[in-house]
Structure formats: structure tokens, C-alpha cells
């Protein structure tokens, strides 16, 4: 991952949030992404498996087109989820795309949209959602723009997952935190905790993050403890989760 590109993206998102006098959210990531590639609309939806579950953000023409994909059940957005890969459409008005999406393509074109670029938000095996960008004039994304969108998609995914759990004050070193989350141990720990608690891997990551925050620890250190089996998570009798460990000096939450 290109670190400058990542830092610039976070900086752009933070600036937009500050303008709004708000904490950074997936919505700000969408807006920053739209600007970065000069798109005419952006939409972000969460998903459950291969189906769209919840729109998070969409403005202007994107709102209409996102709604189309939800109701028709067809479109580049859904293909990107199914294929777990970006679907980049330069011109929805072109015959081949009309055949590929016979209901969606003409309807989107009637709304004025010609280019559509859908990027699935993936956390390993988990499909978190999809980020869509639109253009009113057909124009493909350049290689640089694709690289930018991939970074913004990551940012949007992180922010969307955080707000889905709880509102937390952001750490100062948000980029460092984001990078921490890329470490192998973090994903291994997510896998282990998902089995320990009987939840999905992305929810397991959220639990780990919440535990780290509550204990004022770095996520990577918590992850290492889990992988080394110094720290386990278990559901208690009330169905809540608490952490236990072999070390009696570790605090229970």
C-alpha cells in the first residue's frame, strides 16, 4: 500500500469532517473519494454476504441509481459483491452493458449516468459493503484514480465498521491504527475470537478493537495476546462477552 496515498486520503477525510464539525465517518470518506476522482456521484452501501443490506450514503444522482440497484437487484454494484472484485463500466449505454444488465443499464442511463465503478469493501472473507462512483459523461478511471479509490474504499470500510459498533473518540494516530489493523496477527486473532464467541470475523475484530480501546491498549498487542492464548474471549451466562485470560493480573472488563 502506497503510504503517502493513504496519509493524503485520511487527511482529506479529516478535513471534510472538521468542516462539518463532526467526527470522521464513512460519509466523509465517500465525499473525499468523489472529489479525488472528479466523480459526479458516490454511493456506499453495506452488505450481508452477496446482498445489499443498508445504504450508508448517496447524494444527488447516486441516490437514485443506488436505489435502482436495491430495488431491481441487478447492477455493477451487485456483481462487484458477487465477484469480490471491482466492476468498472465505462459506458452503461454501450450494447454489451445493456445486455449484461438489461433492467439496470437503461434505467441508470435515463437518470443521466454513463460510467459506473463499483468497488467491493472486503475484509478478507467478509464482504462489508460496496462503494460506487458515477460519471455523467463516459470516462474510465485512470490507474491512479483506481489506486485512490481503493484507498478511500478501505477508509470508508473502516469508518463504516466503527460507526456500526459504537461512537468512539478517534485516536490521534488514526493512520497508525489503520495500519495496525493490517497486521497478520490482528486477522488471526479475529478468526480465533470469531470461533470463541460464535460471531462473524468482522464482528470479532470490532470486539477486539473495543477491548483494546477500553483497556487503553494497542490493537496489535491485544491481538498478539489472543494468538498466544494469553487472552480469550468467552460469552458469559447473560450472553454478554467478557475476556478472560490465564494471567490473574489482567483486568476483567
Amino acid at each position: 500500500m502506497d503510504i503517502d496515498r493513504v496519509r493524503e486520503a485520511w487527511s482529506a477525510v479529516r478535513t471534510l469532517a472538521e468542516h462539518d464539525n463532526a467526527t470522521m465517518s464513512a460519509r466523509h470518506a465517500c465525499m473525499a473519494c468523489e472529489r479525488a476522482v472528479s466523480a459526479d456521484g458516490v454511493g456506499l452501501s453495506l452488505s450481508r454476504g452477496s446482498t445489499l443490506s443498508e445504504p450508508v450514503h448517496a447524494t444527488g444522482v447516486a441516490a437514485d441509481v443506488e436505489e435502482l440497484q436495491f430495488s431491481i437487484g441487478e447492477g455493477p454494484c451487485l456483481d462487484a459483491l458477487a465477484e469480490r472484485a471491482p466492476v468498472l463500466v465505462t459506458d452503461l449505454a454501450d450494447g454489451e452493458n445493456g445486455r449484461r444488465w438489461p433492467a439496470f443499464a437503461p434505467a441508470a442511463v435515463r437518470y443521466g449516468v454513463r460510467s459506473a465503478f463499483s468497488f467491493p469493501l472486503l475484509m478478507g472473507a467478509i464482504r462489508v459493503g460496496v462503494l460506487d462512483l458515477y460519471r455523467l459523461r463516459p470516462q474510465p478511471l485512470t490507474k491512479d484514480e483506481v489506486a485512490d479509490v481503493l484507498v478511500y474504499a478501505d477508509v470508508a470500510m473502516l469508518l463504516a465498521m466503527r460507526s456500526a459498533q459504537s461512537a468512539q473518540t478517534e485516536r490521534h494516530d488514526i493512520v497508525g491504527t489503520a495500519l495496525d489493523e493490517r497486521r497478520a496477527e490482528v486477522h488471526q486473532a479475529s478468526g480465533m475470537v470469531s470461533v470463541q464467541l460464535g460471531i462473524t470475523v468482522d464482528n470479532a475484530l470490532a470486539r477486539l478493537r473495543a477491548y483494546a480501546y477500553a483497556s487503553d491498549l494497542r490493537l496489535i498487542d491485544v491481538a498478539r495476546d489472543v494468538v498466544a492464548r494469553r487472552l480469550r474471549f468467552a460469552p458469559d451466562e447473560m450472553g454478554d462477552t467478557s475476556s478472560t485470560s490465564g494471567d490473574p493480573d489482567k483486568e476483567q472488563t
Binding site: I126, V146, L150, A189, S190, G191
Partner: protein, 246 residues
Amino acid sequence: MTTADRQTVDALVGLVHTLVDDFDVIEFLDELCARCVSLLDVTATGVLLVDHRGTLGLVAASDEQTRTLELLQLQEDEGPCLDCYHTGSPVLSDDLERESVRWPRFAAAARAGGFAAVHALPMRLRDQILGGLNLFSARSGSLSPDTLRLAQLLADVASIGIVHERNLRHPEVVVEQLQSTMNNRVTFEQAKGVLAEHLDITVVDASTLLRRHASRTRTPLSDIAVQVVDGSIAPATIMPTPDPDA
């Protein structure tokens, strides 16, 4: 390094450089065919690829002589390359005199062109056969095992070149490919954790089990990893079968 070794290394270096520098797939395959002639000590070579209709078509040859082109093109209907494409395995004939039953038209044309032996190596990408690399010799007899290994390597290089070309035409795909590779790594790490917890083993051992299972079942590792994480594979399936003699 012997002269022969150096020639081989030079040829491979040249081909790989072409892949990373200015790249044109036809030029690349033509060069590959030409190098095959000297490296493998055969008389003529050609590359046939399957097109969108499922038929083999000529894309490159070591020379433009009629006999060579003819031999390659009539393999649409019969011949070693067609058999190679269907079976996915090398098809060898060290004496075309004996092949009038197997390939009546092809064998006759080959002999008329002065060829006595033929080898066809599959160009494979994972479970897809893209086509074949054909080697024609004026001398009867089979190529040595070492030469055949080198020939298969060159066929594999040709396959890479063809896939590479598709990537270059859509440069955004390369970037996306990198992202997808990174995400596959995340999935693999998640799968290690899930498996380690289920089987009460270390993540290192989980990694080994996953790799072995992928290799044993000839499934891509990233597919196995997704299935372990989403629960569509039972963890017990990944356990190695116990050795009955242990």
C-alpha cells in the same frame, strides 16, 4: 556454466525482459518460438491458442514457411496439439511414420514437409488450457527428459505472456490485482485463526494444514481460506488423515 546453460539463461532472461518492458504479445511469442528452435534443437515450432469458439488457431511460428504454417493450421481438426489441448498433457510422437492411424491427414502433411517427429506441450493456466506449444523435428526420436522439461518451461512462459498482455491492456487491473492479492492474504490469516481455535493448534500449524489441504485437493488456497472463514468447510476436513501405520 556450460555454453548450453548460458544459452538457456540468456533466452529466459531475454523473454522475461520482454515481459516487463515494451510488450507486444505477438512479437513475444514469435521470439519465443524462434528461441525454442535453437534451445531445444528442433526444426520448427509454433504456438496455437484456442479462440472464443473453442478452436485452435495459429498465433506465432518460428518461420513463415508454408510447411510450418500448414502443419500448425490444419491442427484445427486433428493432430498432436489438438490432443494435447483436450488432454492437458504433453503429446509426443517420435516417429510420424507410425501415426497414420492416430492422425492420418496431419502425419501425411508432416512427412511431406520433411518432419519426422513432433512434440506438443500444453499451455496451461491453472485448470484452463490456453493452447499448445508445438515442436517439429526433421529427425525422428524423442527429446531428452531435460529438454522436455525446458520445453514445458517455455510453454509456461508463453502462457504467462498471454495473460500478461490482458493485464497491460487494462492497467487498472494490475492495481486491482495487487489489492485483491492483499485481501487474499487477509482471508488466509483469518482462516488460520479460525482453524487454530477449532482444532486447538497454533496458527503456524493451521497454516501448514491449510496449504496441504489446498495442494491435496488441487484447490486454490484462497478458496479454501474463504470456505474455512465462512464455515462452508468443516474444520475437521482440513485435518490430515491419520497414518494407519503410525
